[in-house]
């Protein structure tokens, strides 16, 4: 029963639980995908499965970057700001703004104290990070500042 870190599917389903552990549920992933395509569009099961794999890889990739930062700074706990920082570092700085806002709302609920700390700690990396390496601008991502695509924290 090989636990393959690279994520390549080596075993089919006898170890259902392990496979499930490393992927997000296909129903959830599919639901999000459906929000993007037109109503009459179809999404193949294999496409959803591929997306599941991609998301898990995304999580691992970003987490790894964030945890390396923590290690360098001699911190044990990966927090939301580290995730935001890692995303910016990996070129996904368009995600940073909506995520920070999301995180902010969460922290407001948790307590004003945590929110102040985020303001103190976070935000500087986005100014440093320049996007010439990744000239990626995707309109619906970039416009999440005010649009309805961005789900309010409700």
């Amino acid at each position: 029963m090989a636990e393959d870190i690279t994520g390549a599917a080596s075993i089919n389903d006898g170890v259902g639980l392990k496979e499930q552990d490393r992927l997000l549920p296909i129903a959830n992933v599919g639901r999000i995908m459906k929000q993007i395509v037109p109503p009459n569009a179809k999404i193949s099961k294999e496409a959803k499965e591929t997306m599941q794999e991609c998301v898990s890889e995304f999580i691992s990739f970003v987490t790894s970057e964030a945890s390396q930062k923590c290690r360098k700074e001699r911190r044990k706990t990966v927090n939301g700001d580290d995730i935001c920082w890692a995303l910016a570092t990996l070129g996904l700085d368009d995600y940073e703004v909506p995520l920070k806002r999301y995180l902010h709302k969460f922290r407001e609920v948790e307590g004003e104290r945590a929110a102040n700390q985020m303001r103190a700690n976070g935000g500087d990396s986005s100014k440093e990070k320049e996007d010439e390496q990744y000239p990626f601008k995707f309109s619906f991502i970039g416009s999440t500042s005010n649009d309805s695509n961005f789900r309010p924290f409700d």
């Binding site: 870190i5 994520g7 599917a9 080596s10 496979e19 552990d21 997000l24 959830n28 639901r31 999000i32 995908m33 993007i36 395509v37 009459n40 569009a41 179809k42 999404i43 193949s44 294999e46 496409a47 499965e49 591929t50 997306m51 991609c54 998301v55 898990s56 890889e57 995304f58 999580i59 691992s60 990739f61 970003v62 987490t63 790894s64 945890s67 290690r71 044990k76 706990t77 990966v78 927090n79 939301g80 580290d82 995730i83 935001c84 995303l87 070129g91 995600y95 909506p98 999301y102 969460f106 948790e110 990744y134 990626f136 995707f138 619906f140 999440t144 695509n149 789900r151 924290f153 409700d154």
Partner: protein
């Protein structure tokens, strides 16, 4: 007129309530995070929350790009190959290149 669920869900159910605002299960996200490397020791409670939104954005973006490939082929079914093409065409998704190449072979 009170907006049901907006505040009460947060206060009572907590952020990780099962019918909460998150589209993706936080516990599963946390498990995947922990599998990403030995150096990942501790994860703050908010990290999976941030990821749930980040993953949503990621899925949406990759789906959008994949769909653009789909419609070029004049079909209405988004296929695995469309996802692979979108990955290949996007520098930002370089980290996925091996993954989508592999999935053509021994797929689960």
């Amino acid at each position: 007129m009170r907006q049901a669920g907006t505040y009460s869900g947060i206060v009572s159910g907590g952020i990780s309530g099962k019918t909460g605002p998150h589209l993706l299960p936080l516990a599963r996200i946390k498990k995947i995070m922990k599998r990403s490397g030995e150096e990942v020791k501790m994860i703050s409670g908010e990290s999976p929350i941030v990821f749930s939104k980040a993953c949503e954005l990621f899925i949406k973006e990759l789906t959008q790009r994949s769909w653009m490939v789909t419609i070029k082929g004049k079909t209405r079914t988004l296929s695995k190959e469309d996802v692979a093409s979108a990955v290949m065409a996007t520098d930002l998704f370089d980290f996925l290149v091996n993954l989508v190449s592999d999935s053509g072979g021994t797929h689960l």
